[in-house]
């Protein structure tokens, strides 16, 4: 109901106004959640790429698709300006505590002295250096591809797993490829490492790190076999010197040289990945904005309908004002003020609602939803742009209602 100004009109909130505020609030909360969470995930992934300790990645299609990982790593390491070539094999296996049943863990097989240099600044502090896995080059057990050498059977356990299962450094942990304990092998726990949730994914909190050759044998990915690759790895992460990393031309040259060594695998650079991610993030942001625009348009259409409906129900009041000689701009100003007030109240509630939704997702969500919500970024500029957009659309909605109000015939309204 119109009064002198919107402050007074709020005293007479009616159900339509509450619904209009709810519609605008919902329309605002949606983009807040989408853009903050989506943008946060993209930013996090970009940061991860930019903070990685390696610059190139060799990968192959299919699971554990790289064969001859030890030998390829040595050849890559021999290239000029390459400081580390770290094959990584990730396999889900089972662990057995004394007297306990099987418990799934994510195992990462690495060559210790190659793995450490590929850790970025954020990750390097999470792992002991050097990795206490016995054989730094993993050459003894690998023994030129025969796997006949003595295995160290050392393992590092993630802090969450050690805490959950009461595993201490110096204790024994049985590890096997299946839930059948008879296939398990005893490993010496030589240390622990912290696992940031982002490093190994939401299920990676229960993780172990062990020599690559040990994991290859355990997973049946060591010796040549018709049904599985031999000396397998998922990726080979390649670190180069600081000078080469900062020089796109040098990095491209090294990438080319690596590619010539492994013409049948894909060699990617993190810079290219970052560009792709940024591009994908831009597309996603555009999609979010399009979706948000639809939501905002629907919300503001509802607001326009409510304002027009109010003009209809206030025809007599409008007629009285005009009969008394109040200028048209007064009536227009009051409707615009009301529309803006409803839009801005809805915006504030929508912003708060979006923030609460993200907070609830971060606190009580599951898996990736929780993780994504924890990475959410509330960009003040974006949020301000949403509010400005709502204010503009509220003006448009008010304009529609104002037009209807100024068409009210005085004598008809007072009849």
């Amino acid at each position: 109901m119109m009064r002198f100004g919107f402050g007074a009109s709020l005293r007479h909130l009616r159900i339509q106004q509450v619904l209009a505020i709810a519609a605008v609030g919902t329309a605002v909360a949606l983009p807040v959640v989408l853009i903050s969470v989506g943008g946060g995930v993209a930013t996090h992934e970009l940061n991860s790429l930019e903070n990685a300790g390696y610059q190139l990645v060799v990968s192959a299609s299919g699971e554990h698709g790289i064969t001859d990982a030890h030998n390829l790593s040595r050849q890559i390491l021999a290239l000029d300006s390459v400081t580390a070539a770290s094959p990584v094999l990730s396999v889900a296996i089972d662990s057995f505590l004394p007297g306990g049943g099987p418990s799934p863990v994510l195992a990462e097989g690495v060559i210790p002295d190659q793995f450490t240099p590929t850790l970025g600044p954020a990750e390097s502090g999470l792992f002991p250096s050097p990795l206490p896995l016995g054989d730094p080059t993993d050459a003894v057990h690998f023994d030129n591809g025969t796997y006949a050498g003595a295995a160290t059977n050392d393992v590092l356990v993630s802090s969450p797993l050690a805490q959950a299962d009461g595993i201490a450094t110096g204790s024994t942990l049985w590890l096997g490829p299946t839930t059948n304990r008879s296939q398990a092998t005893a490993y010496n726990v030589t240390g622990t490492f912290g696992v940031p949730l982002s490093a190994l994914g939401p299920t990676g909190a229960f993780a172990i790190v062990l020599p690559l050759s040990n994991l290859q044998v355990m997973a049946g990915l060591a010796a040549p076999s018709p049904s599985a690759p031999h000396d397998a790895a998922d990726t080979i992460e390649v670190a180069v010197t600081g000078a080469a990393a900062a020089d796109p031309t040098a990095l491209a040259r090294i990438r080319g040289e690596v590619q010539r060594l492994v013409p049948y695998y894909f060699v990617g650079s993190l810079d290219a990945e970052a560009e792709q991610l940024q591009s994908a993030s831009g597309v996603l942001t555009g999609f979010y904005l399009a979706l948000s625009s639809v939501a905002l348009t629907i919300g503001l259409l509802f607001l326009a309908l409510v304002l027009v409906r109010r003009v209809e129900s206030d025809r007599r009041s409008i007629g009285i004002r005009r009969a008394l000689g109040l200028p048209r701009r007064w009536i227009a100003r009051e409707i615009v003020a009301d529309g803006l007030a409803l839009g801005l109240i809805g915006s504030v509630l929508g912003l708060a609602g979006g923030y609460v939704i993200v907070a609830v997702m971060a606190a009580w969500g599951t898996g990736g939803v929780q993780l994504a919500a924890q990475w959410a970024v509330f960009d003040p500029t974006t949020l301000a742009a949403i509010v400005v957009g709502v204010a503009f659309l509220s003006l448009v909605a008010s304009g529609v209602a104002t037009r209807a109000a100024l068409r009210v015939d005085i004598t008809e309204a007072l009849r």
Partner: protein, 234 residues
């Protein structure tokens, strides 16, 4: 804020026909030729539907004739813009509607202040003047009351106070005492007459009450959209 000098109002061959909602045109006024001099007190009587309210609406520039013209001080006002006519109403016309037409979301004081707000009267002055007017109509203790908290008679008195707030030169009243007891009716009439005497305002009053009509200096009766009689003298 000073009172606006009342205009000489002339109706020349004025007809008003309504079409909305009717299959055929309904004539409310038919070829009326009439004039009012500044400061006159005119009572208008007649049966329901004879065109009294339409006449008031045309005199107060709320409506425009379908034929003929309305002149203020010799100048036709029908051709003026909506904005100009609104300004004339705001500055020079006070309306007392039959059904009061108070704004339901404003208090009695705010209703009376409304025309003065539009005229940009300073807050302190308009509040003082609105309080004075409400006191004059016997509603000193009802300033903060909303219309739904008032009786019909009290609403009528707020409507009178609002009509007087802009010190109009032309006061148009449609049954201003219809909802009042004889005591309050007399007080309101006295107030309206004092306004006319003090400022020379023109007062056109539609009424069915012979006593009220008897206080006017000029008596008009209407029938079928025409002025049937127009006599002077109490």
């Amino acid at each position: 804020m000073t009172a606006v000098r009342p205009p000489t109002i002339e109706l020349r061959g004025v007809s008003r026909t309504y079409r909305a909602g009717h299959p055929e045109a309904v004539p409310a006024l038919r070829e009326v030729d009439w004039s009012i001099a500044p400061g006159e007190f005119v009572s208008v009587e007649g049966p329901s539907g004879c065109g009294k309210t339409t006449l008031l609406n045309l005199l107060g520039l709320l409506d425009a004739p379908t034929e003929g013209e309305v002149r203020w001080d010799g100048a036709p006002v029908g051709s003026r813009s909506d904005r100009e006519r609104a300004r004339l109403r705001l500055e020079g016309v006070g309306f007392i509607f039959q059904r009061f037409y108070l704004l339901p979301t404003l208090t009695a004081l705010e209703n009376v202040e409304l025309p003065m707000r539009a005229l940009r009267v300073p807050r302190a002055e308009r509040t003082r003047r609105a309080e004075e007017l409400l006191t004059e109509v016997g509603l000193a203790g009802k300033q903060r009351a909303f219309p739904h908290q008032l009786s019909g008679g009290e609403e009528q008195r707020v409507a009178v106070a609002r009509a007087l707030s802009n010190r109009p030169g032309l006061l148009l009243a449609d049954e201003p005492t219809g909802e009042l007891d004889s005591g309050n009716a007399a007080a309101i009439l006295a107030l309206l007459e004092r306004l006319r005497a003090d400022r020379g305002a023109t007062l056109v009053l539609v009424t069915h009450n012979p006593e009220v009509a008897g206080r006017a200096g000029r008596h008009v009766t209407m029938r079928d959209g025409r002025i049937a009689t127009d006599t002077r003298g109490a």
